[in-house]
């Protein structure tokens, strides 16, 4: 949109962009697909009950584990719902490194082409596990809450310590292809990533069996520790300033994608998307999609809250703070304080 020629349909990534482009957003509340959308998938593009965007698809991430290796190590993934059980599993994998033929336990990254694994996806966990995530964000914005001192964020530093301990010896060198490639080649047993990696995993090792583990922050059962974050990466929106004809055509097209069989087939089979509409009953396209649907069915999901963070928070503030924490340039306290400081600066401008 910044670029000048104005399309009839365009995409919006989340609530920050939503507010920025609000003047261009046509309300879509009365569209037939709205009722069929999964619960929660419209929240980010809804203001005062008015819906402004159609979800592309659902995506999710977590700790992807190598099913065969877990079996060989005698670890039951069903039992991993707490931080201590995760730690015990990691320790066991570490002990059995030679038997399993792995070099490290966990494929994680904090830099380069995979910086977002840590600075968007990992940091989302303490946000998403707040009792009321959106209220927490609001409190951060009006400065009645801080991340330092918050129990979820304190616990998050422990999870980071665990990741650092069981991941590569030098995390500052790991790019996306290393991270996913090593897991696919069997050099690691666990991968902190999302369902979009399935294409690459299949390409390197078509026989790889994988599923998601949650990322627990502690052992407290009231903390939704057995859940994985799922969300909508992008929404389709209709340009309010386009002509009525064009707007109607755009709306028809969006409904076609959601409601028709061909639209659904296109989403699931061509794009390998996990659709956001309950009317689509097609088989999930891959193992990771199936794993996500399993978590969704049980209600073991938490939202993607980073969408509500101020522009620049993840890719500038968190990225730098996590790297500093990893390198030992800051301790837990300084790490969380850096997050608070960055938030205040970005949200107050």
């Amino acid at each position: 949109m910044n670029s000048g020629n104005e399309p009839d349909i365009f995409n919006i990534g989340g609530p920050v962009e939503r507010d920025q482009w609000i003047d261009f957003l046509e309300p879509l509340t009365n569209q037939p697909w709205v009722e069929k959308s999964f619960k929660g998938t419209l929240d980010m593009l809804t203001i005062d009950g008015e819906v402004y965007g159609q979800p592309y698809n659902i995506e999710g991430y977590g700790l992807i584990y190598n099913v065969d290796m877990f079996q060989k190590a005698g670890i039951n993934p069903e039992n991993i719902k707490t931080l201590s059980s995760l730690e015990a599993a990691f320790a066991k994998l570490e002990d059995m490194k030679d038997t399993l033929g792995i070099e490290d336990v966990l494929s994680f990254s904090i830099v380069d082409t995979a910086w977002w694994t840590a600075a968007i996806h990992a940091i989302n966990i303490p946000f998403a596990k707040q009792e009321n995530p959106l209220e927490f964000i609001e409190n951060l914005n009006n400065m009645t809450a801080t991340m330092s001192g918050n129990d979820r964020f304190m616990a998050f530093t422990n999870l980071m310590d665990l990741y650092f301990k069981y991941s590569y010896s030098d995390l500052m060198t790991v790019s996306y292809d290393d991270q996913v490639g090593d897991f696919a080649l069997g050099k690691t047993a666990v991968l902190h990533q999302g369902n979009w990696t399935i294409g690459m995993l299949d390409e390197i090792d078509p026989d790889l069996k994988v599923a998601f583990l949650p990322h627990p922050l502690n052992d407290d059962s009231s903390w939704t520790n057995g859940s994985i974050p799922i969300g909508v990466p992008n929404y389709w929106c209709v340009n309010k300033k386009a002509s009525e004809d064009k707007k109607d055509a755009a709306k028809l097209f969006l409904d076609y994608m959601a409601s028709s069989e061909r639209g659904a087939k296109f989403l699931v089979e061509e794009c390998s998307f996990i659709p956001a509409f309950s009317n689509i009953k097609l088989e999930p396209s891959d193992q990771l999609a199936a794993s996500i649907l399993e978590y969704s069915a049980k209600g073991d999901t938490v939202p993607w809250v980073w969408m509500y963070t101020p522009s620049g928070f993840c890719d500038i503030v968190v990225k730098e703070a996590i790297q500093n924490y990893y390198l030992g340039n800051s301790d837990k306290k300084a790490f969380l304080e850096a997050l608070d400081k960055g938030w205040t600066e970005l949200s107050s401008k």
């Binding site: 920025q20 830099v111 380069d112 500052m172 790019s175 522009s311 620049g312 390198l327 401008k349």
Partner: protein, 286 residues
């Protein structure tokens, strides 16, 4: 009267295309940019712009990242200017020797100069990540540590610009009258004495030109920065030019980004003006 009218028409007619393009593309954005730096401009089409005085300037000067960016740009420039000029001069000495492969070597050394910074950065990213650690049998790589990432960038810049600076030195060395070198040889001077007492002083003007060329390009580096490190690690390689884009397009703080852009202009223009001053002074002396 009619004739002078026609003359004016011809004058503006010939000047017109360049002048119009220049005005639209450089002049207007430059002036508007100065105005924007005193407002809350946010680049969203149609939104109103309010005058806010010096607030953006105050915020920018209090931004520790800006100070870091400047400091790192200076450090990088130091490495780059030193490496490029040293390598460029040594290569020039080599290819001006009487040897069969001199012309071929010139072609080879100059070649990387034609490849764009973005592409070069990506080529070297692969080398630094996958090849160099293999050669030296280490786990770490130069791009992952703040202390070495800037040196890595300077190495890429040297590969790119070394041959270019070489060509400038070659022109200067070839301008030295051969009688001078012959004469000193007869006097029994060895190669090093030759270089020290004849080549150095006579190449000095080319040295000034190269210094400023490399300094200016080091200050303005962006493409290699994006493709090689993209600011990593811990924003320690985010140099000034990239900082402007981060401020604007990542933090969506366009007004402060523009303030940084104006500061950037002041620094680059100063460097260039010092260069012009020296060149003029030299011309007068010669």
């Amino acid at each position: 009267m009619k004739k002078s009218m026609k003359r004016k028409l011809i004058f503006w007619g010939f000047l017109g295309p360049s002048l119009i393009a220049f005005t639209i593309v450089v002049l207007v954005p430059f002036v508007v940019g100065i105005y924007y730096s005193f407002t809350d401009w946010n680049a969203v089409p149609g939104s109103t712009i309010h005058f806010v005085g010096l607030v953006n300037y105050k915020n920018v000067f209090n931004d520790p990242q800006l100070i870091r960016a400047f400091r790192n740009t200076f450090i990088y420039s130091f490495y780059a200017v030193f490496l490029i000029n040293t390598i460029g001069f040594l290569l020039a000495l080599l290819v001006t020797q009487k040897m069969r492969s001199a012309n071929l070597l010139r072609t080879v050394f100059f070649m990387p100069n034609l490849i764009g910074g973005l592409i070069l950065g990506y080529v070297w990213k692969f080398l630094f990540l996958k090849i160099v650690p293999n050669i030296f049998q280490t786990d770490g790589n130069m791009l992952s540590k703040p202390s070495t990432a800037l040196i890595a960038m300077a190495i890429v810049a040297t590969w790119q610009m070394g041959g270019y600076i070489m060509v400038i030195y070659v022109a200067a060395i070839q301008g030295i009258p051969s009688e001078l070198l012959e004469a000193s040889k007869i006097d029994g001077a060895n190669s090093w004495q030759n270089i020290k007492s004849i080549i150095f002083p006579l190449v000095a003007p080319a040295f000034t030109v190269s210094m400023f060329l490399t300094l200016r390009s080091a200050f303005m580096i962006y493409d290699v920065n994006v493709s090689l490190t993209n600011g990593d690690p811990i924003r320690s390689t985010e140099l000034i030019a990239m900082g402007i884009l981060s401020k604007a397009y990542k933090e969506l703080n366009f007004a402060q980004g523009q303030v940084q852009a104006i500061l950037f202009f002041v620094v680059v223009a100063s460097v260039s003006m010092i260069q012009v001053y020296y060149s003029k002074k030299r011309e007068v002396e010669m």
